[in-house]
Amino acid sequence: MSDINNNTNNKEDKFLAEENKKRTVIGPDGIEFEIDPLKDYFCDQKPEVRDPKNKVVEKFINWARAESLWVLGFGTGCGSIEIPPLLTPRFDAARFGVQMRATPRQSSVIIISGYLAVKTLKRVIRSYEQMQSPKYVLALGSCTINGGMYYDSYNTINRLDYYMPVDVYVAGCMPRPEALLAGFNKLKERIKAGRAEGANEYAEKFDWYKANQKKIIKDWNMPDYNW
Protein backbone atom coordinates (compact mmCIF):
# COMPACT_ATOMS: atom_id res chain seq x y z
CA MET A 1 0.00 0.00 0.00
CA SER A 2 1.30 3.42 -0.73
CA ASP A 3 0.15 6.83 0.28
CA ILE A 4 -0.67 8.37 -3.00
CA ASN A 5 -3.39 10.54 -1.63
CA ASN A 6 -1.40 12.72 0.64
CA ASN A 7 -3.09 15.82 -0.72
CA THR A 8 -6.36 15.47 1.14
CA ASN A 9 -7.44 18.99 0.35
CA ASN A 10 -10.00 17.62 -2.03
CA LYS A 11 -13.25 16.87 -0.24
CA GLU A 12 -13.77 13.66 -2.19
CA ASP A 13 -10.35 12.41 -1.23
CA LYS A 14 -10.77 13.26 2.41
CA PHE A 15 -13.55 10.74 2.74
CA LEU A 16 -12.11 8.22 0.31
CA ALA A 17 -12.22 4.88 2.01
CA GLU A 18 -8.98 3.07 2.59
CA GLU A 19 -9.89 0.23 0.26
CA ASN A 20 -10.74 2.64 -2.53
CA LYS A 21 -7.44 4.44 -2.50
CA LYS A 22 -5.02 3.74 -5.27
CA ARG A 23 -2.50 1.08 -4.39
CA THR A 24 0.55 -0.44 -5.99
CA VAL A 25 0.81 -4.18 -6.08
CA ILE A 26 3.44 -6.56 -7.38
CA GLY A 27 2.25 -9.03 -9.97
CA PRO A 28 3.40 -12.64 -10.00
CA ASP A 29 5.95 -11.69 -12.65
CA GLY A 30 7.50 -9.21 -10.26
CA ILE A 31 6.35 -6.08 -12.08
CA GLU A 32 4.77 -3.38 -9.98
CA PHE A 33 1.65 -1.64 -11.17
CA GLU A 34 -1.00 0.62 -9.80
CA ILE A 35 -4.59 -0.21 -9.07
CA ASP A 36 -7.35 2.34 -8.93
CA PRO A 37 -10.16 0.41 -7.28
CA LEU A 38 -12.86 2.85 -8.29
CA LYS A 39 -11.97 2.42 -11.93
CA ASP A 40 -10.82 -1.18 -11.97
CA TYR A 41 -13.45 -2.74 -9.80
CA PHE A 42 -16.52 -0.67 -10.61
CA CYS A 43 -18.28 0.18 -13.82
CA ASP A 44 -18.56 3.94 -14.12
CA GLN A 45 -21.15 4.09 -16.87
CA LYS A 46 -24.07 6.51 -16.33
CA PRO A 47 -27.66 5.35 -16.64
CA GLU A 48 -29.57 5.86 -19.85
CA VAL A 49 -33.20 6.57 -20.55
CA ARG A 50 -34.90 3.49 -21.94
CA ASP A 51 -38.11 4.48 -23.61
CA PRO A 52 -40.91 2.08 -24.36
CA LYS A 53 -40.85 0.99 -27.97
CA ASN A 54 -44.41 0.19 -28.81
CA LYS A 55 -47.28 1.98 -27.10
CA VAL A 56 -49.85 -0.80 -27.50
CA VAL A 57 -47.59 -3.57 -26.36
CA GLU A 58 -46.33 -1.32 -23.61
CA LYS A 59 -49.85 -1.02 -22.26
CA PHE A 60 -50.10 -4.77 -21.92
CA ILE A 61 -46.64 -5.02 -20.44
CA ASN A 62 -47.42 -2.29 -17.96
CA TRP A 63 -50.42 -4.27 -16.84
CA ALA A 64 -48.15 -7.23 -16.26
CA ARG A 65 -45.66 -5.06 -14.41
CA ALA A 66 -48.42 -3.71 -12.23
CA GLU A 67 -49.68 -7.14 -11.36
CA SER A 68 -46.25 -8.44 -10.50
CA LEU A 69 -44.73 -6.15 -7.93
CA TRP A 70 -41.63 -7.65 -6.44
CA VAL A 71 -40.67 -5.78 -3.36
CA LEU A 72 -37.15 -5.51 -2.09
CA GLY A 73 -36.94 -6.65 1.49
CA PHE A 74 -35.30 -3.48 2.81
CA GLY A 75 -36.58 -1.73 5.90
CA THR A 76 -35.26 1.74 6.60
CA GLY A 77 -37.05 3.07 9.65
CA CYS A 78 -39.79 2.27 12.07
CA GLY A 79 -42.16 1.61 9.16
CA SER A 80 -40.41 -1.57 8.24
CA ILE A 81 -42.38 -3.24 11.01
CA GLU A 82 -45.49 -2.59 8.97
CA ILE A 83 -44.29 -4.66 6.03
CA PRO A 84 -44.24 -8.19 7.48
CA PRO A 85 -47.95 -8.09 8.36
CA LEU A 86 -48.63 -7.62 4.67
CA LEU A 87 -47.72 -11.23 4.11
CA THR A 88 -49.87 -12.58 6.91
CA PRO A 89 -53.34 -14.09 6.38
CA ARG A 90 -54.96 -10.88 7.54
CA PHE A 91 -53.65 -8.64 4.76
CA ASP A 92 -52.20 -11.20 2.32
CA ALA A 93 -50.60 -8.89 -0.19
CA ALA A 94 -49.77 -11.87 -2.38
CA ARG A 95 -53.34 -11.63 -3.65
CA PHE A 96 -52.35 -8.43 -5.43
CA GLY A 97 -49.21 -9.84 -6.96
CA VAL A 98 -46.99 -8.36 -4.31
CA GLN A 99 -44.07 -10.61 -3.40
CA MET A 100 -40.93 -10.06 -1.41
CA ARG A 101 -37.53 -10.57 -2.99
CA ALA A 102 -34.23 -10.75 -1.22
CA THR A 103 -32.11 -9.08 -3.86
CA PRO A 104 -32.51 -5.72 -5.55
CA ARG A 105 -31.56 -7.21 -8.91
CA GLN A 106 -34.86 -9.01 -9.04
CA SER A 107 -37.07 -6.46 -7.33
CA SER A 108 -39.16 -3.79 -8.98
CA VAL A 109 -40.39 -1.89 -5.94
CA ILE A 110 -38.46 -0.42 -3.08
CA ILE A 111 -40.39 0.69 -0.02
CA ILE A 112 -38.84 3.53 1.94
CA SER A 113 -40.44 2.74 5.23
CA GLY A 114 -39.98 5.81 7.37
CA TYR A 115 -37.24 8.19 8.39
CA LEU A 116 -34.05 8.01 6.42
CA ALA A 117 -30.74 8.71 8.06
CA VAL A 118 -28.07 9.94 5.73
CA LYS A 119 -26.18 6.73 6.28
CA THR A 120 -29.23 4.67 5.33
CA LEU A 121 -29.94 6.85 2.35
CA LYS A 122 -26.59 5.89 0.94
CA ARG A 123 -27.58 2.22 1.09
CA VAL A 124 -31.02 2.92 -0.24
CA ILE A 125 -29.60 4.69 -3.26
CA ARG A 126 -27.20 1.87 -3.92
CA SER A 127 -30.01 -0.64 -3.78
CA TYR A 128 -32.24 1.51 -5.91
CA GLU A 129 -29.60 1.86 -8.55
CA GLN A 130 -29.03 -1.88 -8.55
CA MET A 131 -32.65 -2.56 -9.37
CA GLN A 132 -33.48 -3.06 -13.00
CA SER A 133 -35.82 -0.65 -14.66
CA PRO A 134 -38.71 -0.13 -14.68
CA LYS A 135 -38.55 0.30 -10.94
CA TYR A 136 -40.78 2.03 -8.50
CA VAL A 137 -40.40 3.80 -5.19
CA LEU A 138 -43.06 3.72 -2.55
CA ALA A 139 -42.43 6.11 0.34
CA LEU A 140 -44.08 5.61 3.71
CA GLY A 141 -44.80 8.09 6.40
CA SER A 142 -44.37 11.80 7.08
CA CYS A 143 -40.65 11.45 7.48
CA THR A 144 -40.13 10.80 3.80
CA ILE A 145 -42.48 13.62 2.89
CA ASN A 146 -41.18 16.49 4.96
CA GLY A 147 -39.03 15.05 7.67
CA GLY A 148 -41.88 14.40 10.04
CA MET A 149 -40.93 14.57 13.65
CA TYR A 150 -37.27 14.47 12.66
CA TYR A 151 -37.53 17.58 10.54
CA ASP A 152 -34.79 19.34 12.48
CA SER A 153 -32.45 16.42 12.94
CA TYR A 154 -28.92 16.90 11.69
CA ASN A 155 -28.95 13.37 10.38
CA THR A 156 -32.21 12.53 8.65
CA ILE A 157 -33.40 13.79 5.31
CA ASN A 158 -36.48 15.93 4.97
CA ARG A 159 -37.86 15.03 1.59
CA LEU A 160 -37.13 11.94 -0.39
CA ASP A 161 -38.01 13.21 -3.84
CA TYR A 162 -34.84 15.24 -3.98
CA TYR A 163 -32.83 12.06 -3.88
CA MET A 164 -34.82 9.57 -5.92
CA PRO A 165 -38.01 9.70 -7.97
CA VAL A 166 -40.90 8.73 -5.73
CA ASP A 167 -43.99 7.19 -7.30
CA VAL A 168 -46.36 7.05 -4.36
CA TYR A 169 -46.23 8.68 -0.93
CA VAL A 170 -48.28 7.05 1.80
CA ALA A 171 -48.86 9.62 4.51
CA GLY A 172 -49.16 8.86 8.18
CA CYS A 173 -46.97 8.35 11.16
CA MET A 174 -46.94 5.42 10.75
CA PRO A 175 -49.38 4.36 8.03
CA ARG A 176 -50.94 1.02 8.82
CA PRO A 177 -50.71 -1.99 6.49
CA GLU A 178 -54.11 -1.15 5.01
CA ALA A 179 -52.74 2.22 3.96
CA LEU A 180 -49.76 0.45 2.48
CA LEU A 181 -52.05 -1.81 0.49
CA ALA A 182 -53.87 1.27 -0.73
CA GLY A 183 -50.51 2.66 -1.69
CA PHE A 184 -49.80 -0.44 -3.73
CA ASN A 185 -53.09 -0.04 -5.52
CA LYS A 186 -52.28 3.57 -6.25
CA LEU A 187 -48.92 2.47 -7.62
CA LYS A 188 -50.63 -0.09 -9.81
CA GLU A 189 -52.87 2.58 -11.22
CA ARG A 190 -49.92 4.78 -12.00
CA ILE A 191 -48.07 1.93 -13.67
CA LYS A 192 -51.04 0.91 -15.73
CA ALA A 193 -51.51 4.51 -16.78
CA GLY A 194 -47.88 4.57 -17.89
CA ARG A 195 -47.02 7.38 -15.48
CA ALA A 196 -44.61 5.44 -13.33
CA GLU A 197 -41.45 6.24 -15.27
CA GLY A 198 -39.29 6.93 -12.25
CA ALA A 199 -36.31 5.08 -13.60
CA ASN A 200 -36.23 7.16 -16.75
CA GLU A 201 -36.71 10.30 -14.75
CA TYR A 202 -33.80 9.35 -12.58
CA ALA A 203 -31.65 8.80 -15.63
CA GLU A 204 -32.77 12.03 -17.18
CA LYS A 205 -32.19 14.21 -14.15
CA PHE A 206 -29.34 12.06 -12.99
CA ASP A 207 -26.94 14.94 -12.43
CA TRP A 208 -29.41 16.82 -10.31
CA TYR A 209 -30.24 13.81 -8.20
CA LYS A 210 -26.61 12.98 -7.83
CA ALA A 211 -25.73 16.51 -6.78
CA ASN A 212 -28.44 16.43 -4.14
CA GLN A 213 -27.29 13.08 -2.92
CA LYS A 214 -23.69 14.06 -2.82
CA LYS A 215 -24.50 17.21 -0.95
CA ILE A 216 -25.32 15.18 2.09
CA ILE A 217 -23.48 11.95 1.39
CA LYS A 218 -19.95 13.16 1.47
CA ASP A 219 -18.25 9.80 1.33
CA TRP A 220 -20.09 8.27 -1.58
CA ASN A 221 -17.03 6.12 -2.31
CA MET A 222 -18.42 4.74 -5.52
CA PRO A 223 -18.62 5.70 -9.13
CA ASP A 224 -21.64 7.90 -9.62
CA TYR A 225 -23.99 5.14 -10.60
CA ASN A 226 -23.86 1.91 -8.72
CA TRP A 227 -24.66 -0.76 -11.27
Binding site: R50, P52, I61, S68, A94, R95, G97, Q99, A102, S133
Partner: protein, 302 residues
Amino acid sequence: MDNIILKLLFTLLGLFIVLNWGLLMSAIMQKIVARVAGRHGIPFYQPWIDLIKLYTKRTAITHGIMFYLGPVFRLGGGVGMFLFIPLIYGSEYFTNFSWSGDLILILYFQFFGMLGMALGAGEGGHPNSVIGISRGLAQFTTVEVPMTLAVISIAVQYQTLSITEIVAAQQGGILNWTLFTNPLATAAAMLSLLGAFRHAPFNLVKAPNEIPIGPPTEYHSSFLGVLRTNNAILHVIEAVLFMNLFFGGATNWFELILKSFLIYFWSVFVGVVFPRFRIEQSVAWFLKVPLVIGILAIIIFI
Protein backbone atom coordinates in the same frame (compact mmCIF):
# COMPACT_ATOMS: atom_id res chain seq x y z
CA MET B 1 -38.59 -35.26 -44.15
CA ASP B 2 -42.21 -34.44 -43.50
CA ASN B 3 -42.04 -36.85 -40.69
CA ILE B 4 -39.24 -34.98 -39.05
CA ILE B 5 -40.94 -31.62 -39.38
CA LEU B 6 -44.12 -33.07 -37.99
CA LYS B 7 -42.15 -34.57 -35.15
CA LEU B 8 -40.54 -31.21 -34.51
CA LEU B 9 -43.89 -29.47 -34.44
CA PHE B 10 -45.31 -31.99 -32.03
CA THR B 11 -42.25 -31.66 -29.87
CA LEU B 12 -42.75 -27.91 -29.73
CA LEU B 13 -46.40 -28.47 -28.91
CA GLY B 14 -45.38 -30.84 -26.14
CA LEU B 15 -42.92 -28.29 -24.84
CA PHE B 16 -45.62 -25.63 -24.86
CA ILE B 17 -47.99 -27.85 -22.91
CA VAL B 18 -45.33 -28.86 -20.44
CA LEU B 19 -44.25 -25.27 -19.90
CA ASN B 20 -47.76 -24.05 -19.25
CA TRP B 21 -48.61 -26.99 -17.09
CA GLY B 22 -45.45 -26.37 -15.13
CA LEU B 23 -46.38 -22.75 -14.56
CA LEU B 24 -49.90 -23.64 -13.57
CA MET B 25 -48.69 -26.40 -11.34
CA SER B 26 -46.32 -24.09 -9.50
CA ALA B 27 -49.16 -21.60 -9.02
CA ILE B 28 -51.43 -24.32 -7.67
CA MET B 29 -48.76 -25.52 -5.31
CA GLN B 30 -48.18 -22.00 -4.06
CA LYS B 31 -51.87 -21.63 -3.53
CA ILE B 32 -51.94 -24.87 -1.59
CA VAL B 33 -49.12 -23.67 0.59
CA ALA B 34 -50.98 -20.39 1.08
CA ARG B 35 -54.17 -22.17 2.04
CA VAL B 36 -52.26 -24.24 4.56
CA ALA B 37 -51.15 -20.96 6.07
CA GLY B 38 -54.68 -19.58 5.97
CA ARG B 39 -54.11 -17.14 3.11
CA HIS B 40 -55.67 -16.76 -0.28
CA GLY B 41 -52.34 -16.87 -2.04
CA ILE B 42 -51.37 -15.68 -5.47
CA PRO B 43 -53.78 -15.65 -8.37
CA PHE B 44 -53.37 -18.79 -10.48
CA TYR B 45 -52.10 -16.72 -13.42
CA GLN B 46 -49.36 -15.06 -11.40
CA PRO B 47 -46.46 -17.15 -12.82
CA TRP B 48 -47.32 -16.05 -16.37
CA ILE B 49 -47.43 -12.43 -15.35
CA ASP B 50 -44.13 -12.73 -13.57
CA LEU B 51 -42.60 -14.30 -16.65
CA ILE B 52 -43.90 -11.58 -18.94
CA LYS B 53 -42.65 -8.93 -16.61
CA LEU B 54 -39.21 -10.51 -16.37
CA TYR B 55 -38.86 -10.94 -20.11
CA THR B 56 -39.85 -7.31 -20.68
CA LYS B 57 -37.60 -5.62 -18.18
CA ARG B 58 -35.94 -2.67 -19.83
CA THR B 59 -32.43 -3.02 -18.46
CA ALA B 60 -30.08 -5.80 -17.64
CA ILE B 61 -26.49 -6.13 -16.64
CA THR B 62 -24.01 -8.86 -17.38
CA HIS B 63 -20.88 -9.91 -15.56
CA GLY B 64 -19.36 -11.68 -18.51
CA ILE B 65 -19.86 -14.28 -21.14
CA MET B 66 -20.26 -17.23 -18.78
CA PHE B 67 -22.77 -15.25 -16.71
CA TYR B 68 -24.72 -14.69 -19.90
CA LEU B 69 -24.55 -18.31 -20.95
CA GLY B 70 -25.37 -19.75 -17.53
CA PRO B 71 -29.17 -19.47 -17.88
CA VAL B 72 -28.95 -20.80 -21.41
CA PHE B 73 -27.18 -23.87 -20.10
CA ARG B 74 -29.77 -24.17 -17.38
CA LEU B 75 -32.72 -23.97 -19.74
CA GLY B 76 -30.84 -26.22 -22.13
CA GLY B 77 -30.65 -28.77 -19.34
CA GLY B 78 -34.40 -28.61 -18.81
CA VAL B 79 -35.36 -28.62 -22.45
CA GLY B 80 -32.80 -31.31 -23.14
CA MET B 81 -34.29 -33.54 -20.50
CA PHE B 82 -37.66 -32.86 -22.03
CA LEU B 83 -36.36 -33.83 -25.44
CA PHE B 84 -34.82 -37.07 -24.27
CA ILE B 85 -37.77 -38.29 -22.22
CA PRO B 86 -40.82 -40.02 -23.69
CA LEU B 87 -43.88 -38.16 -22.46
CA ILE B 88 -46.84 -40.22 -23.58
CA TYR B 89 -46.50 -43.95 -23.84
CA GLY B 90 -47.63 -45.29 -27.18
CA SER B 91 -47.77 -41.90 -28.82
CA GLU B 92 -45.73 -41.66 -31.96
CA TYR B 93 -44.95 -37.98 -31.58
CA PHE B 94 -44.92 -37.21 -27.91
CA THR B 95 -41.97 -39.46 -27.32
CA ASN B 96 -39.77 -36.60 -28.53
CA PHE B 97 -36.18 -37.61 -29.20
CA SER B 98 -36.06 -40.29 -26.57
CA TRP B 99 -34.78 -42.79 -29.11
CA SER B 100 -31.34 -41.20 -28.91
CA GLY B 101 -30.65 -42.24 -25.35
CA ASP B 102 -31.84 -44.14 -22.35
CA LEU B 103 -32.34 -43.53 -18.66
CA ILE B 104 -28.64 -42.95 -18.05
CA LEU B 105 -28.69 -40.11 -20.53
CA ILE B 106 -31.45 -38.42 -18.55
CA LEU B 107 -29.68 -38.93 -15.24
CA TYR B 108 -26.52 -37.34 -16.56
CA PHE B 109 -28.14 -34.72 -18.68
CA GLN B 110 -29.54 -32.99 -15.63
CA PHE B 111 -25.95 -32.06 -14.79
CA PHE B 112 -25.76 -30.10 -18.01
CA GLY B 113 -27.99 -27.38 -16.63
CA MET B 114 -26.64 -27.52 -13.12
CA LEU B 115 -23.07 -27.17 -14.23
CA GLY B 116 -23.80 -24.32 -16.61
CA MET B 117 -25.84 -22.52 -14.00
CA ALA B 118 -23.14 -23.01 -11.42
CA LEU B 119 -20.55 -21.54 -13.74
CA GLY B 120 -22.76 -18.62 -14.71
CA ALA B 121 -23.55 -17.79 -11.12
CA GLY B 122 -19.87 -18.24 -10.33
CA GLU B 123 -18.89 -15.58 -12.81
CA GLY B 124 -21.38 -13.28 -11.14
CA GLY B 125 -18.74 -13.17 -8.47
CA HIS B 126 -21.20 -13.04 -5.62
CA PRO B 127 -20.09 -15.10 -2.63
CA ASN B 128 -23.67 -16.01 -1.77
CA SER B 129 -24.14 -17.57 -5.19
CA VAL B 130 -21.17 -19.79 -4.61
CA ILE B 131 -22.26 -20.71 -1.12
CA GLY B 132 -25.58 -21.76 -2.61
CA ILE B 133 -23.90 -23.75 -5.33
CA SER B 134 -21.51 -25.47 -3.00
CA ARG B 135 -24.42 -26.45 -0.80
CA GLY B 136 -26.45 -27.55 -3.79
CA LEU B 137 -23.68 -29.70 -5.19
CA ALA B 138 -22.91 -31.17 -1.80
CA GLN B 139 -26.52 -32.07 -1.23
CA PHE B 140 -26.93 -33.37 -4.74
CA THR B 141 -24.16 -35.91 -4.37
CA THR B 142 -26.00 -37.80 -1.70
CA VAL B 143 -29.45 -37.19 -3.13
CA GLU B 144 -28.32 -39.20 -6.10
CA VAL B 145 -27.25 -42.20 -4.02
CA PRO B 146 -30.71 -43.63 -3.28
CA MET B 147 -31.73 -42.64 -6.78
CA THR B 148 -28.84 -44.60 -8.28
CA LEU B 149 -29.71 -47.59 -6.17
CA ALA B 150 -33.33 -47.38 -7.24
CA VAL B 151 -32.39 -47.06 -10.89
CA ILE B 152 -30.10 -50.06 -10.69
CA SER B 153 -32.81 -51.97 -8.91
CA ILE B 154 -35.42 -51.34 -11.57
CA ALA B 155 -32.90 -51.87 -14.35
CA VAL B 156 -32.20 -55.27 -12.87
CA GLN B 157 -35.90 -55.87 -12.43
CA TYR B 158 -36.84 -55.03 -16.01
CA GLN B 159 -33.47 -55.93 -17.54
CA THR B 160 -33.49 -52.73 -19.54
CA LEU B 161 -32.44 -49.14 -19.20
CA SER B 162 -34.72 -47.83 -21.87
CA ILE B 163 -37.47 -45.69 -20.36
CA THR B 164 -39.95 -46.67 -23.03
CA GLU B 165 -39.43 -50.33 -22.27
CA ILE B 166 -39.71 -49.74 -18.55
CA VAL B 167 -43.03 -48.01 -19.12
CA ALA B 168 -44.12 -50.78 -21.44
CA ALA B 169 -43.40 -53.33 -18.76
CA GLN B 170 -45.73 -51.53 -16.38
CA GLN B 171 -48.74 -51.48 -18.65
CA GLY B 172 -51.80 -53.59 -18.10
CA GLY B 173 -53.14 -52.60 -14.74
CA ILE B 174 -52.24 -50.64 -11.72
CA LEU B 175 -50.65 -53.63 -10.01
CA ASN B 176 -48.00 -53.77 -12.72
CA TRP B 177 -46.60 -50.44 -11.67
CA THR B 178 -43.14 -50.43 -10.18
CA LEU B 179 -44.78 -48.94 -7.14
CA PHE B 180 -46.27 -52.34 -6.45
CA THR B 181 -43.79 -54.65 -8.13
CA ASN B 182 -40.78 -52.99 -6.55
CA PRO B 183 -41.96 -50.87 -3.62
CA LEU B 184 -38.52 -50.57 -2.06
CA ALA B 185 -36.96 -48.99 -5.11
CA THR B 186 -39.95 -46.67 -5.37
CA ALA B 187 -39.57 -45.65 -1.75
CA ALA B 188 -35.88 -44.93 -2.14
CA ALA B 189 -36.48 -42.91 -5.27
CA MET B 190 -39.35 -40.95 -3.76
CA LEU B 191 -37.16 -39.97 -0.82
CA SER B 192 -34.46 -38.96 -3.24
CA LEU B 193 -37.03 -36.91 -5.11
CA LEU B 194 -37.48 -34.70 -2.05
CA GLY B 195 -33.89 -33.63 -2.42
CA ALA B 196 -34.11 -33.30 -6.17
CA PHE B 197 -37.04 -30.86 -5.97
CA ARG B 198 -35.30 -28.84 -3.29
CA HIS B 199 -38.34 -28.08 -1.23
CA ALA B 200 -38.07 -27.94 2.51
CA PRO B 201 -36.45 -29.62 4.37
CA PHE B 202 -33.85 -29.60 1.61
CA ASN B 203 -34.07 -25.98 0.49
CA LEU B 204 -30.99 -24.62 2.16
CA VAL B 205 -29.55 -24.20 -1.32
CA LYS B 206 -31.75 -21.22 -1.96
CA ALA B 207 -32.17 -20.05 1.64
CA PRO B 208 -33.84 -16.74 0.76
CA ASN B 209 -33.00 -14.92 3.93
CA GLU B 210 -29.48 -16.02 4.67
CA ILE B 211 -27.93 -16.10 1.23
CA PRO B 212 -30.52 -14.22 -0.84
CA ILE B 213 -31.91 -17.11 -2.89
CA GLY B 214 -28.50 -18.64 -3.43
CA PRO B 215 -27.16 -19.29 -6.90
CA PRO B 216 -29.36 -16.84 -8.83
CA THR B 217 -28.62 -13.91 -6.51
CA GLU B 218 -27.27 -11.86 -9.36
CA TYR B 219 -29.72 -13.03 -11.99
CA HIS B 220 -32.54 -10.72 -13.02
CA SER B 221 -34.64 -9.61 -15.96
CA SER B 222 -34.76 -12.09 -18.80
CA PHE B 223 -31.96 -14.13 -17.28
CA LEU B 224 -34.28 -14.83 -14.40
CA GLY B 225 -37.10 -15.32 -16.86
CA VAL B 226 -35.12 -18.04 -18.55
CA LEU B 227 -34.40 -19.64 -15.21
CA ARG B 228 -38.07 -19.56 -14.22
CA THR B 229 -39.07 -21.02 -17.57
CA ASN B 230 -36.64 -23.79 -16.94
CA ASN B 231 -37.99 -24.38 -13.44
CA ALA B 232 -41.47 -24.84 -14.80
CA ILE B 233 -40.32 -27.32 -17.42
CA LEU B 234 -37.97 -29.12 -15.10
CA HIS B 235 -40.51 -29.70 -12.38
CA VAL B 236 -42.85 -31.36 -14.81
CA ILE B 237 -40.10 -33.32 -16.50
CA GLU B 238 -38.66 -34.66 -13.29
CA ALA B 239 -42.11 -35.67 -12.19
CA VAL B 240 -42.63 -37.30 -15.58
CA LEU B 241 -39.39 -39.20 -15.14
CA PHE B 242 -40.56 -40.61 -11.83
CA MET B 243 -43.94 -41.27 -13.31
CA ASN B 244 -42.38 -43.26 -16.13
CA LEU B 245 -40.11 -45.21 -13.85
CA PHE B 246 -42.40 -45.97 -10.96
CA PHE B 247 -46.00 -45.08 -11.66
CA GLY B 248 -46.77 -46.73 -14.94
CA GLY B 249 -46.13 -43.84 -17.25
CA ALA B 250 -48.91 -42.04 -19.03
CA THR B 251 -50.93 -43.00 -22.06
CA ASN B 252 -52.54 -39.63 -22.50
CA TRP B 253 -52.04 -36.04 -21.46
CA PHE B 254 -54.62 -36.18 -18.71
CA GLU B 255 -52.88 -39.05 -17.04
CA LEU B 256 -49.57 -37.26 -17.35
CA ILE B 257 -50.94 -34.11 -15.77
CA LEU B 258 -52.61 -35.95 -12.94
CA LYS B 259 -49.63 -38.12 -12.09
CA SER B 260 -47.05 -35.39 -12.38
CA PHE B 261 -49.21 -33.22 -10.14
CA LEU B 262 -49.40 -35.89 -7.48
CA ILE B 263 -45.69 -36.61 -7.63
CA TYR B 264 -44.85 -32.95 -7.33
CA PHE B 265 -47.40 -32.57 -4.60
CA TRP B 266 -45.56 -35.17 -2.57
CA SER B 267 -42.54 -32.93 -2.25
CA VAL B 268 -44.66 -29.85 -1.54
CA PHE B 269 -46.57 -31.77 1.09
CA VAL B 270 -43.38 -32.78 2.87
CA GLY B 271 -42.05 -29.27 2.46
CA VAL B 272 -45.05 -27.72 4.17
CA VAL B 273 -44.82 -30.08 7.08
CA PHE B 274 -41.10 -30.11 7.87
CA PRO B 275 -38.61 -27.36 8.68
CA ARG B 276 -35.31 -26.90 6.95
CA PHE B 277 -32.19 -29.01 7.42
CA ARG B 278 -28.71 -27.64 7.70
CA ILE B 279 -26.50 -28.76 4.86
CA GLU B 280 -24.52 -31.39 6.75
CA GLN B 281 -27.79 -32.76 8.10
CA SER B 282 -29.36 -33.09 4.71
CA VAL B 283 -26.21 -34.59 3.24
CA ALA B 284 -26.14 -37.16 5.98
CA TRP B 285 -29.88 -37.80 5.90
CA PHE B 286 -29.78 -39.33 2.45
CA LEU B 287 -27.11 -41.72 3.59
CA LYS B 288 -29.32 -43.09 6.33
CA VAL B 289 -32.83 -44.37 5.76
CA PRO B 290 -33.01 -43.82 1.98
CA LEU B 291 -29.67 -45.54 1.52
CA VAL B 292 -30.76 -48.55 3.52
CA ILE B 293 -34.00 -48.80 1.57
CA GLY B 294 -32.07 -48.52 -1.67
CA ILE B 295 -29.68 -51.27 -0.65
CA LEU B 296 -32.59 -53.50 0.29
CA ALA B 297 -34.11 -52.78 -3.09
CA ILE B 298 -31.04 -54.24 -4.72
CA ILE B 299 -30.55 -57.10 -2.29
CA ILE B 300 -33.91 -58.58 -3.17
CA PHE B 301 -32.59 -59.09 -6.69
CA ILE B 302 -29.38 -60.82 -5.74
